[in-house]
């Protein structure tokens, strides 16, 4: 991975590393902070997203609201659509793979996709194992509902964590629950004496070295974004205020009445989440948001967030 060669090592480690190194993967996640990553299903939508100020786009065949409605097996996006999107935008292009489907992930890596989302929104391919993400040149983002799940994914090589929320629901309640859970779990760790960390790691079912790191630095070792149910500028501002470092918007934009205006508005509210006057201005004149789902009406097997472990 790195060769020190004849250079005199100077403590900064003047050596080379490539895109497989964790530092380079997390580097791209750092660049996406403060931004909005938008789900798109066509090159035209991708262009709209970029023109609205999206920091990245996520290519998929159907937005979560349609996957929910139409059912069937949801797979990786078609190659033609991803290539079409890569051609028309200059911002990073992400795409989803099914949980555990490392062959889909290898295909996306070969396509030069900038970030791979191993996502519960698609139908899982493996019910016991996630992709071993270390040995890829494309970085991975994974969903999590709590700290243990986040650290299991980071242990497998994820360079970014997002809340799962409840995708395609237009309902922010699950994303809020997951954000509060992750940050609450982190705060609770930071006050534990070090001899209690191994037992806590066991309870969290998380690697003990990562648990020690989080206890020490008081945050995840990778950027922590929000996803799942964001439909309005105020939803985005809420997630940012709760500590998310950027937001993913799935069905919320292209299932609304006026995708262009809504996309711009959510970008604006994400930048200015601390300023209610800006969030107010962003919230005006948007037409209808996507239809929302009351989560009590969803049966357990219809809940996407319970996929993955």
């Amino acid at each position: 991975m790195s060769k020190s060669k004849d250079k005199k090592g100077n403590g900064n480690g003047a050596q080379r590393s490539d895109a497989r190194s964790f530092e380079i993967k997390v580097g791209l996640a750092e660049m996406l902070k403060g931004g909005v990553i938008m789900d798109v299903t066509t090159p035209e939508q991708a262009k709209i997203a970029e023109d609205a100020g999206a920091a990245a786009v996520m290519a998929l065949e159907r937005v979560p609201a349609d996957i929910r409605k139409e059912g069937g097996v949801a797979r990786m996006c078609s190659i033609e659509v991803i290539e079409g999107i890569q051609k028309v935008v200059s911002i990073p292009v992400m795409a989803k793979v099914r949980i555990g489907h490392f062959s889909e992930a290898r295909v996306l890596e070969a396509l030069g996709v900038d970030f791979i989302d191993e996502s519960e929104v698609l139908t899982p391919a493996d019910e016991a194992h996630h992709v071993d993400k270390h040995d890829f040149r494309s970085p991975f983002v994974c969903g999590a509902r709590d700290l243990g799940e986040a650290l299991r994914r980071i242990g497998e090589g994820a360079a970014m964590i997002r809340t799962k929320g409840e995708a395609g629901s237009g309902n922010i309640v699950e994303a809020v629950r997951h954000l509060r859970q992750v940050f609450g779990d982190i705060r609770a760790l930071t006050v534990l004496p070090s001899e209690e960390l191994p037992a806590r790691a066991k309870e969290l079912r998380a690697p003990v070295d990562l648990v020690r790191t989080v206890a020490q630095i008081g945050k995840l070792p990778v950027p922590n974004f929000a996803a799942g149910g964001i439909a309005t500028p105020a939803d985005a501002a809420l997630c940012m205020s709760l500590g998310a470092e950027a937001v993913f918007v799935g069905s919320g934009i292209f299932k609304s009445d006026d995708p262009e205006s809504r996309a711009r508005a959510i970008v604006r509210a994400t930048t200015h989440y601390r300023d209610p006057a800006e969030v107010l201005a962003a919230s005006r004149g948007l037409g209808g948001a996507m239809p929302g789902i009351e989560l009590e009406t969803l049966a357990e097997e219809q809940r996407l967030a319970s996929r993955g472990w």
């Binding site: 250079k7 005199k8 100077n10 900064n12 480690g13 003047a14 050596q15 080379r16 590393s17 490539d18 895109a19 190194s21 530092e23 380079i24 580097g27 791209l28 750092e30 660049m31 996406l32 902070k33 403060g34 931004g35 970029e50 023109d51 609205a52 100020g53 999206a54 920091a55 990245a56 890569q86 200059s90 911002i91 990073p92 292009v93 890596e109 030069g112 996709v113 900038d114 970030f115 040149r137 494309s138 970085p139 470092e245 970008v267 604006r268 930048t271 200015h272 300023d275």
Partner: protein, 191 residues
């Protein structure tokens, strides 16, 4: 003039990494999101991130003229990656206006997509004080066709990665993602 307050253009990008670096160097740091913020700082960092997103934010906030004016009045400014693109005079296939503060052409995503991102040390001909600096490139641009007033301070594999023209420093890499403060110290030394 001593630099006491450094602004970071906080529309989008790795603002937090620059903040950590600058606070570690003992200066006060302010997020810049309007003209009033801009007028309250002695120097400015334009961070890494997505150049189209940041440029659209500058346009929406109507900060373009104010930024150009303060930079041409001599305010020290550092742009990293997306920030370097925004400081350039010319950009290949860029859909939005840039600040034109440095006489170079920026080529976006010049190395490829994220699977081609990398880190590498500067070449042996780096300016004094920058020896062995390790540079992190994330979907990096290249800066080409430097004008006569532009000084190339460091190259990696023969390509210019750190340049200075008067009060403007542009890096195609991300010093803020490492623990090496030399590029930020260079900004603060311009006060």
């Amino acid at each position: 003039m001593t630099i006491e307050r450094v602004g970071i253009l906080a529309i989008q990008g790795d603002v937090a990494a620059h903040r950590r670096m600058l606070e570690g160097l003992g200066v006060q740091v302010l997020d810049v999101l309007c003209e009033q913020d801009l007028n309250a700082v002695d120097a400015l960092v334009i961070p890494g991130g997505e150049s189209t997103t940041i440029a659209k934010g500058i346009a929406r906030l109507k900060l373009h003229e104010a930024l150009r004016r303060r930079i041409s009045d001599g305010m020290p400014v550092l742009g990293t990656c997306a920030g370097a693109i925004l400081l350039a005079s010319r950009v290949e296939n860029h859909p939005v206006a840039v600040l034109g503060a440095m006489d170079v052409t920026a080529v976006r995503n010049a190395y490829g997509t994220q699977v081609d991102s990398f880190a590498a040390p500067v070449d042996d001909d780096a300016a004094p004080g920058l020896e062995d600096m390790r540079c992190v490139f994330i979907r990096a641009p290249q800066l080409t066709e430097p004008g006569p007033g532009v000084e190339v301070l460091a190259r990696v594999d023969g390509r210019a990665v750190l340049m200075r023209e008067r009060n403007v420093i542009a890096a195609t890499f991300h010093p803020e993602l490492t623990s090496d403060p030399r590029v930020h110290e260079m900004l603060l030394a311009m006060g």
